[in-house]
């Protein structure tokens, strides 16, 4: 998947940010997004010092993160329902057209999947992480982490 900076908006549903991908990438993108949410609400901590903030503040953070995930899940459900609004067939593969706002929540969703998968793996160092002898669940988490990172990097090309 790659950003097409000079694509004409009308070619892809009127949204200003256009990405080119092949059918396999589209299938991987949709399969990866279906995993959302991955990160648990309990992952979030307001402070490293429990005395710096109160339990109510900590609860508020976790509630806010849960609410945000619900809102993004609803956006994602709409994205899946209205795929024709986002994807158009191109000469080679498919074009995905996004507004800046849509790109922003897709980035956050992909990052939730990436960070959540990393947490599931036990927060390893990425560079020294051994990818052999993994359980099926760990293999799925590695794939989700890699795929979400791949699509994040492509989306970030548009905001550079």
């Amino acid at each position: 998947m790659k950003f097409v900076p000079d694509a004409k908006a009308n070619d892809a549903g009127g949204a200003p940010l256009v990405f080119q991908m092949n059918q396999v990438e589209k299938a991987f993108l949709l399969a990866t997004l279906q995993l959302f949410p991955v990160l648990e609400d309990s992952h979030h901590h307001l402070s490293q010092d429990p005395g710096a903030t109160g339990p109510a503040d900590q609860r508020l953070l976790q509630q806010a993160m849960a609410r945000q995930r619900q809102q993004y899940r609803a956006k994602l459900d709409d994205f899946f329902r209205a795929q024709r609004r986002f994807f158009t067939n191109a000469q080679e593969g498919v074009q995905l057209a996004l507004t800046a706002e849509q790109l922003e929540w897709l980035l956050q969703i992909l990052n939730d999947i990436r960070v959540g998968s990393w947490v599931q793996l036990g927060c390893p160092e990425i560079d020294s992480f051994r990818r052999s002898g993994l359980t099926p669940a760990q293999t799925r988490a590695v794939a989700a982490m890699d795929m979400s990172g791949y699509f994040q990097a492509a989306l970030l090309e548009a905001v550079k």
């Binding site: 307001l46 710096a52 922003e104 990052n111 990436r114 960070v115 560079d127 990172g149 970030l156």
Partner: protein, 93 residues
């Protein structure tokens, strides 16, 4: 826009109240370009400043992003964690 360098320009009371530090901690999973982008969006920083703080997180393990009142620091931490960054608020010692 929060900026620790602007502190001298605030009144003494506000300076006393701004006793909370917003810190972003390093992790090996968030992409560097993503972290830069999040700093630009959340704080409205220009790219160079956002990149400076991202590199500080990457190289030094953490970066002090803002010194704020409790409420503002909490607001920033909510936003940063909403983006999946490892950010916390700590009392300024």
């Amino acid at each position: 826009m929060p900026d620790t360098e602007q502190e001298q320009r605030t009144d003494p009371k506000e300076q006393r109240d701004r006793g909370y530090l917003v810190i972003c901690w390093n992790d090996p999973v968030n992409l560097m370009d993503y972290v830069t982008h999040v700093f630009q969006v959340v704080f409205g920083w220009p790219k160079a400043k956002a990149e400076h703080h991202m590199l500080q997180v990457h190289n030094a393990g953490k970066s002090l992003l803002a010194r704020e009142t409790f409420e503002k620091a909490e607001h920033y931490v909510h936003q940063l964690q909403g983006y999946g960054l490892h950010a916390t608020m700590e009392r300024d010692q």
